[in-house]
Symmetry: C2
Subunit: 370 residues, 2 copies
Amino acid sequence: MPVRPALSPLIAALPSTVPFVGPEAQQRERGRAFRARIGANESSFGPSPRVIARMESVARDQWMYCDPDNYDLKVAAAAHHHVAVENIVVGEGIDGLLSLVARMYVAPGDAVVTSLGAYPTFNFHIAGVGGRLVTVPYENDRESLDGLLAAVVREKAPLVYLSNPDNPMGSWWEADEVIRFIEALPETTMLVLDEAYGELGPASALPPIDISRPNVIRMRTFSKAYGLAGIRCGYAVAETQVISDFEKIRNHYGVSRMAQIAGVEALADQAYLETVVAQVAAGRRRIADIAEQNGLKPLASATNFVTIDCGHDGAFALKVLQGLLSRDVFIRKPMAPRLDHCIRVSVGLAHELDIFAEELPGALAAARGN
Amino acid sequence: MPVRPALSPLIAALPSTVPFVGPEAQQRERGRAFRARIGANESSFGPSPRVIARMESVARDQWMYCDPDNYDLKVAAAAHHHVAVENIVVGEGIDGLLSLVARMYVAPGDAVVTSLGAYPTFNFHIAGVGGRLVTVPYENDRESLDGLLAAVVREKAPLVYLSNPDNPMGSWWEADEVIRFIEALPETTMLVLDEAYGELGPASALPPIDISRPNVIRMRTFSKAYGLAGIRCGYAVAETQVISDFEKIRNHYGVSRMAQIAGVEALADQAYLETVVAQVAAGRRRIADIAEQNGLKPLASATNFVTIDCGHDGAFALKVLQGLLSRDVFIRKPMAPRLDHCIRVSVGLAHELDIFAEELPGALAAARGN
């Protein structure tokens, strides 16, 4: 073997992995496009027409670097949440912010608590800093607040992850339950409260933002309700010192100029957001109807997807997934125990849900071996 | 002091800094816009019209996530450099890739060698992983290949940084000198060869790409000659195992969908690139003329900027810089010893260089106390 530069011991121990295989990769492998792209919880309704027009108009300005301070977007987000600019940090999607949080709060060997089957990219970034993942099973299709808390205390974890509303189950806790969880956490434990789907569920699931508390980081994104998954932009809201600490390591030129401009415009068009939220709610009902018409059980959802209990084990649900993929319907499914009997279907456009309705019976029949 | 989550010891020891203050921040502070934006080595000529048209046409598609594999862009870059797709990794600008390289090859306490006054963002990312920076002074306005090599050997450094052509001096080494440097490096030392300006200088400065060598990572960007600084996209070319190791920690969804599409289109329009390279060369001559007309000494440049020796000490050059800023001309200057007697002026549009020509005499007179 030739002599070569050694990876740092921490990195050498890691596998080379991709947390998610994108639909593009699947299409390349299949050699043909999906007819319905309803697997990645994107918003098929797209961004606001105002956002599209603004992006088109600034395409020619992209020779300029982005503002490394993300200033205009921070101002807009701060106004939106009634906090100060100093309470906002912008990153390359929530994924980018999770990578920073992992580095900030986790030293090699530290325990980090999350739910078994929750966001894989969080786990990927924890592994990347040598953190030790401690997972807590879901209970009744929800992340277990009591279970997470017990694990945090038992493991003296410096960091815990909670998504609310939840992915991949679509479930949620009401704000008072989340607040109870936050207040019970050790003050030395940082909570990442991932609210990527926050705009899509009941407002009652979102605790008021309290930027005096130094152990909660709320994360929001333009990828879901705002219909801008491709721009890679999210932000976190937290106490000023926490936000300032991101300056120690963040990639200051990580968020594109286009993304910053699009984000400002997206926040400004709340009327459009409301129409999307209504369309998503209607789409959830449609997916639930399709599931029930096929004898399956849709779970209640506060997100832009519906998770469907296929009524048998994980192997069966996997066959249903594969049947849909082979019928050119891109969906995903949870893979963890207790969740893996489900498939997950994103709200798409009406014609995409028509295709799902057409193809589900065949996929189910094939899974049953009929 | 309230109890709060502790930062990891590595991060707690770091300052909260911004490697570069952007022109937007300066404009906010000044309360007015610059008349000439010729300080950040952006390409005022902008991207290819084909790229602009393509970006405009896909604005409405940004509801879809980016391809986490950056596949199409990797294919295009691989074809451009006559290497395999497995020899390319795409990141959020060279900055994003530097952050990953720091994490990959540097453990806390490891020595990392660079030139004194070279790219600050590299230093920022090395500090972020607890690396120990060892700096080598420039010699005759060039990075010292002998000095860098001696420091690498002396310090047993796992990582060394070289930019060629160089920023902030605009100088360069011919390919045969770079190859000699590479061949003299210990095989256990990884070289980051930052070729951000590679398209703008003489082709003779670029060694042939050798993807069999496991200790060189070549970095390229769309920010300079391609006129796309705002999209945040760069790529690295290296041996397949090195590229594969990036998968251990990179933010797979870090590069926007728009950036991937723009990058493919930019690579496809090499005819436009040639026109930019010619315009940049003309602009360099213009800046050099202006400098000489004012009794200053322009340095030879293989980049899209000209570094100008102001003929006195660093304090004097700083006054010249401040005089230009106060006259609404955004430029920058090196701050390190041996380099700080210079200012750095990016090639801008003709009207911007006119403004520079108009304002330089006044700035010089003010610096001289006239």
